[in-house]
Subunit: 323 residues, 2 copies
């Protein structure tokens, strides 16, 4: 974990006293997550996640994230629900930072997703998109098309330290994406970071979705493109057609894609690969080599991008999909 | 956390199948602890801690540690109990390492211990010493008197990088300890690392003791000396007499000290300060400055040592103790 806020006894007691939770029984820091500090908190009233928002999160965005969770949960999506204190607030202060208490969601994230997980994921993603339709708040995608070039420029001069030729690869791909990006696709609230560690399963049944701290308004189909990258490649970055087929079949069983969305999928997938290639490259160059936090290798996304560049149509992602 | 072992779905499923635990409901890495990897594991059968033993732990010591927890728990000490698998084993393999499942203990460790915590701690420590009397296994204290000089020699040449004069301070103190160490005190099983993060409380009542991975055979009173260092100084390393009094009063209410133990307390406290000064100094010099793991400042123990050197008798630790 990159940042970790410690909490004193008095601060914790003050914070908990704002809520109607009973006696504190356990309070343990969780090793997962890199953007915020998370504690698992047991009281006689239940089990909760206490999230302390670190500096990388813009406080102005918190009402969007927390409001979205409430909105989705009210519409039957299994996601954490922010707990209101006795005054009705979902945001409070703890250890000099903003903090929220959210309900604990049972389940285990799949370390090695299987085809059945991808099918369940597709259905849940489509249901989330439908449930988000009438969410009133707006948040632009800071890591969408318009954010990629400024991010690249922050490390462009050092790009080839990661691998030879990467500067030219990103430059030409950015030009392609800026010229080809489809701006006329159905928009809505997307999760934008739906990696396996944000999706819980119990006995291979999807039990919930967590971590809405990249959620924003963008093309719904772009969320599928993120999942194609995050779920449908194997450990050596080879695309697994059975997983792509399951993801798209699951999604379309709930929300069928339009012809424009289908036609745009290869470009969206290239964009999603670019988004993670850029953030991983930036982090790679800005994390000390001997730091004890795992650096995620940008190379995984160079290989994903090469695959997407070779794709002719959505049929290449879902060869087992009858359409 | 210095080391962190990831666990695959298949490995975890295999491991859990050895036990009679029901369905897996949650599996989260815990940010606490630096020696081993710990996961909090919920199943329909209960809540457990899964510990994966990293390379710093000698596998040959595990039967001592796990056997001690079973021994103490059977005698009414609130400590984690190793869970036996269906074949009766407490040790299994997971992700290429040794691993054990232990029961989850409710409670929260005090970030800022109060006088009442020290009183409870003293009682619990004495009860643990009595409960350990008939534990049959033996483990010498690798970080006891005979281990200090070899540890010092590993970093002696670089000592003054930490603070000017530290080499001479440690050298002369080691000579004093080697000449003055009391070898005739009552021996037994000691915890040897009973810092606040290893003692849980619910509503200011002590609910349990954890982390027996430094436990060993040594002078019982040395365990009190460790606690004097770990619990009875404030954030600026000033001794708090009310806490020392409470610790000793609590301890003696269960197991009164002999005259020899009382007489030896200042020397034992100097030894305990030396033990943590040495390990912190070693870690300080061997942890990269920009690593994202907290380096504990050796300076805290230089100041504790100076206090102990100024102490005349046990009465200076417990001025409020009627004796």
């Amino acid at each position: 974990m990159a940042v970790y806020t410690e909490v004193s006894d008095d601060d914790l007691a003050c914070f908990i006293a704002r809520y109607d939770l009973g006696t504190l029984l356990s309070f343990k820091g969780i090793a997962e997550g890199v953007e915020n500090t998370n504690y698992l908190l047991h009281t006689t009233g239940g089990t909760f996640i206490l999230t302390i928002y670190e500096k990388r999160v813009d406080v102005a965005d918190l009402p969007f994230f927390l409001g979205l969770m409430e909105h989705l949960a009210a519409r039957g999506v299994n996601c954490p629900l922010p707990v209101r204190d006795t005054k009705g607030n979902v945001l409070n202060e703890l250890a000099g930072r903003h903090a929220a208490l959210i309900t604990f969601l049972k389940g285990v994230w799949p370390r090695r997703p299987k085809v059945e997980h991808c099918l369940e994921l597709g259905k849940a993603l489509a249901r989330m998109h439908l449930a988000g339709e009438d969410f009133p708040l707006q948040r632009p995608n800071a890591l969408g098309l318009s954010g990629w070039r400024p991010l690249f420029e922050k490390f462009a001069a050092r790009t080839d330290e990661i691998s030879a030729g990467l500067h030219e690869l990103i430059s030409s791909e950015l030009r392609y994406l800026e010229q080809s990006w489809p701006n006329d696709l159905p928009q809505g609230v997307i999760h934008a970071d739906l990696f396996p560690d944000n999706v819980f399963f119990i006995d291979d049944k999807l039990s919930g979705i967590i971590d809405f701290y990249f959620a924003c308004n963008d093309a719904l189909a772009y969320d599928i493109a993120v999942c194609l990258n995050a779920w449908c490649f194997d450990a050596s970055s080879m695309f697994v057609p059975a997983k792509g087929s399951a993801l798209l079949r699951g999604y379309e069983s709930v929300r069928p894609l339009s012809a424009r969305e289908r036609g745009a999928m290869p470009t969206l997938a290239r964009g999603a690969a670019m988004r993670f290639l850029l953030t991983r490259s930036f982090d790679w160059l800005n994390t000390p080599k001997d730091a004890l936090v795992a650096r995620k290798d940008p190379d995984d996304y160079i290989r994903r991008l090469a695959f997407h560049q070779s794709v002719g149509s959505i049929a290449d992602y879902a060869p087992q999909l009858i359409s």
